[in-house]
Amino acid sequence: MLSVTSDIPTDLPWGQLLVNGLALGSLYALTAFGIVLIYKTTKVITFAQGETAMFSTFVAFTLLTVFQLPFTVAFILTLAFAGVFGALIERVVLRHISTTTVLNPVIVTVGLSLILLGTAGWIWGYEIRTFPAPVAGPPLRFATIVVSQLNALTFLVTLVLMTVLFAFFRFSPTGIAMRAVAENRTAAQLMGISIGRMNALGWGMGTAMGAVTGMLIAPLNYLDPSMMGDVALKAFAAAVVGGLTSLPGAVVGGLLLGIIDSVVGFEVPELRNTIAFVLIVLVLVVRPSGLLGKHEIKKV
């Protein structure tokens, strides 16, 4: 039992802490992807990412338990639901919001998250439920380090999604069009790109991404309306530290926060958030647009 400490000269089990941090960090990174995706296309920084993910996960839960669908089918249906749901949010709510100040989208998405929280609580209640894990089985062991299969899967999904999204933005016409919209809306319109459709697509993709995240987090953190609260805050911070428009930035930010959480959580669990945010402020003071973000030129 004590082998972990006796093998390592310092009193910290660094290997395991790092692995735990990476696992936790990939959850943050995954959630941050959705935020980055939506910000990239619509320039709206969403505070509702956690709640849309939670809501989608509840939908998945209903499909699994009430309709008794197999996991894969429920997974795909949930993705479809989330995509449509996100697009609807854009079309019904955000399209009618003036984005002349940063504050407007912030307030509106906060409002949205409150509505989703309340509605989910009303429909499904606040009891804590378990959500089936997509993988089960004994944890993987590397010397003294243990990795659960779910953590390994999450990490893998993060890397795969990052690669897929990276390729999407680099090579597909739609992805390039989304980047164009992000850079210059007027010019993009003059290319025949429909801004409305791109915005809806950005929200749809971001929300679907959130659904994936939710379904990976729920087996670990359980399912209840507030399941994403802490994760979403950290993901938000991860997205900002990474630079808001950069997918690799979100991964770097997420993993960084995960490792901080893991190490600080081991030493002084009371100060998890405090230390994380002190570091964030330091990072931002040195690089005001995040680690991998481009400096946005302020318009006069």
Partner: protein
């Protein structure tokens, strides 16, 4: 318009400055001169007139209040008030108590103390409740404790086990739940004497509840001149507990005592299982809900759980059969478990006190009868006693073991040594 007003006399400015301050201060001093204005009349009348006007009591009705979170991260506790509501409905269906129906008003405070204070003020001053039953939360009870004492509103079974409510004695507050200090001391004694534990670690919620548990464990160890236990804490907002599991493992403890609510409790057990750390586990009654089996997974097998209410699924117990029938009829949507069991029991104790207080219902009479309650066996609590000097309620607990998705009773009721 602006330019015009700028030419107005300067004195207006001075007056405008002086008026609000003077008026406000005057008003304040007047306010203090008549301190009896707000809360006093009802109670004053109650003690002097022949036929007393008791708040919340008519010939046909008695108003009872409660508060608790019905949303947010602590929203799962909302079940307690909803079960109480269902229980009072059942009593009303059976004709009420002494000719009076119960009107139960429970407020949602979202687990925020400022809202608790507002809720309690509304219940006491506007709804004029006769008594409170099952108000939830440690910080939340602390926020309204002085107010309830000052207004002499009986509060039966605050839903928290903090010792502060019973010690020192508050005349109108009847703690029922086994308090956290007694509970943790019992657990420590059992671990050391019966389970043969050599080194203990405590996983606790970093608040009054968890700290009280940790302190009691440390106190018992100190009394026996044993080394202190390693405390590993978590915050209520935390969702991931891998770091804490690792810390418990590196502490080298052979026994881990849990002072955690179901979600983190289940999660830490699962996380310890994942890293192959299998100490003896002992948990506070707070975790006692069937959901824990799902939350914790197979690693929970063998864990001992302290309890002061009988197992909610033990159908050989006639009281439990009755309880399950009630749940099926009046609260079919609620999940049977520790929370609903608690709500049901609060109701039983409250109704018993109401019955004993008789037709001429007054707060004083109600409390006098509670003070005289001796070895009451009519509730799920096997035996409950109060005295004018002791409102601590339950003092005995037993241990259950988790086995294949069920709790199996392993000891009888134990009291402190």
């Amino acid at each position: 318009m602006q330019r015009l007003s700028r030419m107005q006399d300067r004195t207006v400015r001075r007056v405008a400055l002086a008026v609000p301050l003077v008026v406000a201060l005057l008003a304040v001093s007047c306010g203090s001169a008549t301190p009896a204005a707000t809360a006093a009349p009802a109670t004053a009348a109650a003690t002097t007139t022949a036929k007393p006007i008791v708040p919340g009591v008519t010939d046909t009705e008695v108003v009872v209040g409660s508060w608790g979170p019905q949303d947010g991260p602590a929203g799962a506790y909302g079940t307690i008030d909803r079960t109480l509501d269902a229980y009072f409905k059942m009593i009303n269906d059976q004709g009420g108590i002494n000719g009076r129906k119960i009107r139960f008003i429970y407020e949602n405070d979202s687990y925020q103390p400022a809202k608790t204070v507002a809720a309690v003020k509304k219940l006491v001053e506007e709804d004029k409740v006769f008594a409170l039953c099952g108000g939830l939360g440690t910080a939340h009870n602390a926020a309204v404790m002085d107010y309830l004492v000052a207004n002499n509103v009986p509060h039966v079974w605050p839903a928290t086990g903090t010792t502060a409510l019973a010690v020192p004695l508050k005349k109108n507050i009847y703690a029922v739940q086994l308090n956290y200090t007694t509970e943790a001391t019992l657990a420590t004694q059992y671990a050391l004497d019966t389970m043969g534990s050599k080194q203990i670690a405590v996983f606790y919620q970093n608040d009054a509840f968890g700290k009280e548990g940790l302190d009691a464990v440390q106190a018992e160890l100190k009394k026996r001149n044993l080394p202190a236990a390693t405390g590993v804490s978590y915050e209520t907002a935390d969702t991931n507990f891998s770091a804490q599991a690792l810390k418990l493992q590196t502490s080298g403890a052979d026994t881990v005592i849990l002072y955690a609510v179901p979600k983190p409790g289940g999660s830490i057990i699962a996380e310890m299982g994942k890293i192959g750390y299998a100490p003896k586990l002992l948990s506070s009654s707070v975790i006692n809900d069937p959901s824990i089996f799902q939350l914790a997974g197979p690693a929970i097998n063998g864990m001992l759980i302290e309890a002061y209410l009988p197992p909610f699924d033990d159908t050989s117990n006639p009281k439990i059969v009755e309880y399950q029938a009630f749940m099926a009829k009046y609260a079919p949507k609620e999940q049977i478990g520790g929370f609903t069991e608690a709500g049901y029991t609060y109701g039983q104790v409250f109704i018993e006190a109401l019955k004993r207080a008789g037709k001429e219902l007054t707060r004083e009479g109600f409390m006098t009868n509670l003070d005289q309650m001796q070895n009451f066996t009519g509730s799920l609590v096997p035996s409950l006693s109060y005295s004018p000097t002791d409102h601590a309620g339950v003092k005995a607990a037993y241990f259950q073991a988790a086995k294949d998705g069920k709790f199996v009773t392993v000891t009888g009721f134990i009291t402190l040594k």
